[in-house]
């Protein structure tokens, strides 16, 4: 059996997690989302909360960018001491590559589409949706409260985009990076799952 890996990149609240987990169930392959946090924590020796906070979010504001390498007294000295977030990213890359080696799976987020770019057996999917849909989902899960949900969702996406741009030098959500871009607000979770499943079959998965 030839392995196939599906990476799902998603806007906050678009239902990427649910789509991924449902898809993995139907295909009967392992599903990795939060599991990666634990594995990265183990790999890097870092604390789980720390991995969760920094694993796919990065502040990309100008000041923060300037500050990122400003060691005291002006020397970047990156080479002597890498920023924690980079150490974390390297551990995460290693984890994702190992998971992909193990065989077919569904991986959510964490630049997996870029990390696995040299493999030929990967289907990259991007899930997005309109704000109303995303807001509703986030509030149903009690993730954010009503009044600040819009801002929180936008902020989360901005942090993800910043993280993606920094490590991949590509634009997050640019359709050229993915094989399939779906609007879950229009199709709904179920339909998205079956469309991705169908696309997999198109690639001969699982043969």
């Amino acid at each position: 059996m030839q392995g196939k890996i599906i990476t799902i990149s998603r806007q906050c609240g678009s239902g990427g997690h649910s789509i991924g987990s449902e898809l993995a169930q139907r295909l009967d392959v392992p599903f990795y989302d939060r599991e990666i946090i634990e594995m990265t924590a183990k790999e890097s020796g870092f604390h789980k909360e720390f991995v969760e906070e920094k694993g796919e979010h990065m502040n990309s504001s100008l000041l923060f960018n300037i500050a990122r390498y400003a060691s005291y007294g002006g020397r970047g000295r990156y080479e002597e001491y890498q920023p924690l977030q980079d150490q974390l990213y390297f551990a995460q890359v290693k984890v994702i590559k190992e998971l992909a080696e193990k065989g077919s799976c569904v991986i959510v987020g964490r630049c997996a589409d870029y990390v696995l770019r040299d493999r030929k057996d990967v289907l990259n999917v991007f899930i997005h949706a309109d704000m109303a849909f995303k807001k509703k989902r986030c509030m149903e899960r009690g993730q954010f409260s009503d009044e600040n949900a819009d801002d929180m969702i936008r902020r989360r996406d901005k942090l993800r985009a910043g993280h993606y741009r920094y490590y991949t030098d590509r634009k997050w959500g640019d359709s050229l990076n993915y094989h399939l871009c779906l609007d879950s607000g229009i199709f709904g979770i179920e339909k998205c799952v079956s469309m991705i499943e169908d696309a997999c079959k198109g690639m001969g998965f699982p043969s």
Binding site: G45, N65, Y69, A70, R75, L84, Y167
Partner: protein, 452 residues
């Protein structure tokens, strides 16, 4: 890049005192050597040429720092890019980043050299040269700007070589340059009587040797293979590399700003005082450079401790993080108090190193040490805290701390205090900035310490 994982990382378990010692010593040595490099010329010029020669080096210094800023923008950026790409296992991009950056650095060196040659006189005047100092500054600056062709390679490639895993090679280049300079300075100045020109030739001789050693490393890179293709300049890579190096650039430019303003203030207010324009310009330069050596010790200590801070913070051992912070703070403060005692009670022992001059000269030099460095013992807090924030992934706070003293406090104070206090006002700007920075640090600590 070492990505093998051992479950037990000594950073998380070894005794803190021992860890700080092993990490900080090499880092302190490299910082101090770097700082000494700047001061050696001054000692020989002071002894062999006199204080006008020393004033000339102060005028040329901002130009040197501009060159350093540019090569760090590319060099430190490329070092970060190299580590980033290697960490991810992408050697090809890493090689392209390094090659492209070396090309850009070489070109930038040539352009800067030409610009400095063309505009040497207006630049010297801009950075505070008086009529008496100008001929010395022109002599010194003319030769020093030829050196930029090589010094841009030196400061730019040092980081890349360290990032490639050869910190000793990088250090060897620096030492080679420094020692060459120390040997040739007395030969050129006292034996050949070349004056400031001799000091300049000695400096660039060291830079040239250093550059050759570093350029030879192009064929010795361990983690990447550089072929001709790699040296092609790609706009995308340059953009990314400079975005990674921008902070090194900005901190250097901040130094240029402070130097340019201080030089000009001292010259214009000095001219109205009994000291004249040249004495304050020269003596404050010496004071700052001596202080740089003290800062180098503190910085070396703190940056050496970064990995210990970082690992323990990331793995959730907050107690150990705070313990490291306390050790750094204590040691820094002890070093600073010792320096303070020398500055206050035996300033002449330092001043004499840079040549004995008139009574007026000595009087102002002593004032520089006593007033400008009056508040130095409290500087330890601000430095230790800045590096601390930096290494636990709070770069914004770190930058606010590191730039606030120079830009927000020192610069305006240097401009304003002389209005009422005359030339001595520029000296009082030092302790005032220190106290304000100290208060800023306390506020930052109050805001964030609990959340750590």
């Amino acid at each position: 890049m070492d990505t093998t994982v051992t479950k037990i990382n000594p950073l998380g378990t070894e005794r803190i005192g021992k860890l700080v010692f092993t990490f900080a010593v090499p880092s302190i040595i490299s910082m101090v050597v770097n700082a000494l490099y700047n001061i050696v010329d001054q000692i020989f010029i002071g002894q062999g040429v006199g204080y006008l020669g020393n004033g000339a080096t102060n005028v040329v210094m901002p130009m040197t720092v501009i060159a350093i800023a540019l090569s760090l923008l590319i060099g430190d950026g490329a070092a970060a890019y190299l580590s980033l790409k290697l960490g991810e296992g992408d050697e090809k991009s890493a090689a392209r980043g390094v090659g492209c950056s070396i090309s850009v650095m070489a070109i930038a060196g040539v352009i800067l050299c030409i610009l400095f040659q063309l505009f040497l006189e207006p630049l010297c005047i801009l950075f505070g040269a008086t009529e008496d100092i100008l001929p010395y500054a022109m002599d010194y600056g003319r030769i020093i700007s030829y050196g930029i062709l090589f010094s841009s390679i030196d400061s730019g490639m040092a980081g890349m070589i360290r990032a490639d895993g050869s910190p000793k090679y990088s250090m060897a280049g620096l030492l080679l340059g420094c020692i060459t300079n120390i040997i040739l300075d007395p030969v050129f100045i006292f034996v050949f009587h070349w004056g400031v020109k001799g000091a300049a030739w000695a400096t660039i001789a060291g830079q040239i040797l250093n550059a050759f050693l570093y350029l030879a490393y192009i064929w010795k890179f361990k983690s990447i293979k550089l072929d001709k293709e790699c040296f092609r300049i790609s706009r995308k890579v340059v953009a990314k590399v400079s975005s990674l190096g921008i902070s090194s650039f900005i901190t250097q430019i901040a130094i240029v700003l402070v130097m340019a303003v201080t030089n000009n203030i001292l010259v214009s207010y000095g001219a109205e005082s009994k000291y004249g324009a040249e004495i304050p310009l020269t003596t404050i330069g010496i004071t700052m450079k001596v202080n740089q050596i003290v800062s180098a010790v503190l910085l070396g200590l703190a940056t050496g401790a970064q990995p210990i801070f970082g690992y323990n913070y990331g793995s959730g051992q907050k107690d150990r993080v705070k313990q490291v912070y306390r050790i750094i703070l204590t040691v820094s403060t002890i070093v600073l108090i010792l320096a303070f005692l020398v500055f206050q009670f035996a300033p002449m022992s330092i001043v004499r190193l840079f040549g004995s001059e008139s009574d007026l000269y000595n009087e102002f030099a002593v004032k520089c040490f006593k007033i400008f460095l009056l508040a130095c013992p409290i500087n330890g807090l601000q430095m230790a805290t800045g590096v601390f924030f930096q290494s636990i992934g709070k770069p914004t706070q770190a930058t606010i701390l590191s730039l606030s003293r120079q830009i927000v406090y020192l610069l305006p104070a240097t401009l304003l205090l002389p209005l009422t206090l005359g030339v001595e006002g520029a000296l009082w700007a030092g302790p005032l900035a220190d106290v304000l920075a100290f208060i800023t640090t306390l506020i930052m600590l109050k805001l964030y310490w609990k959340k750590i």
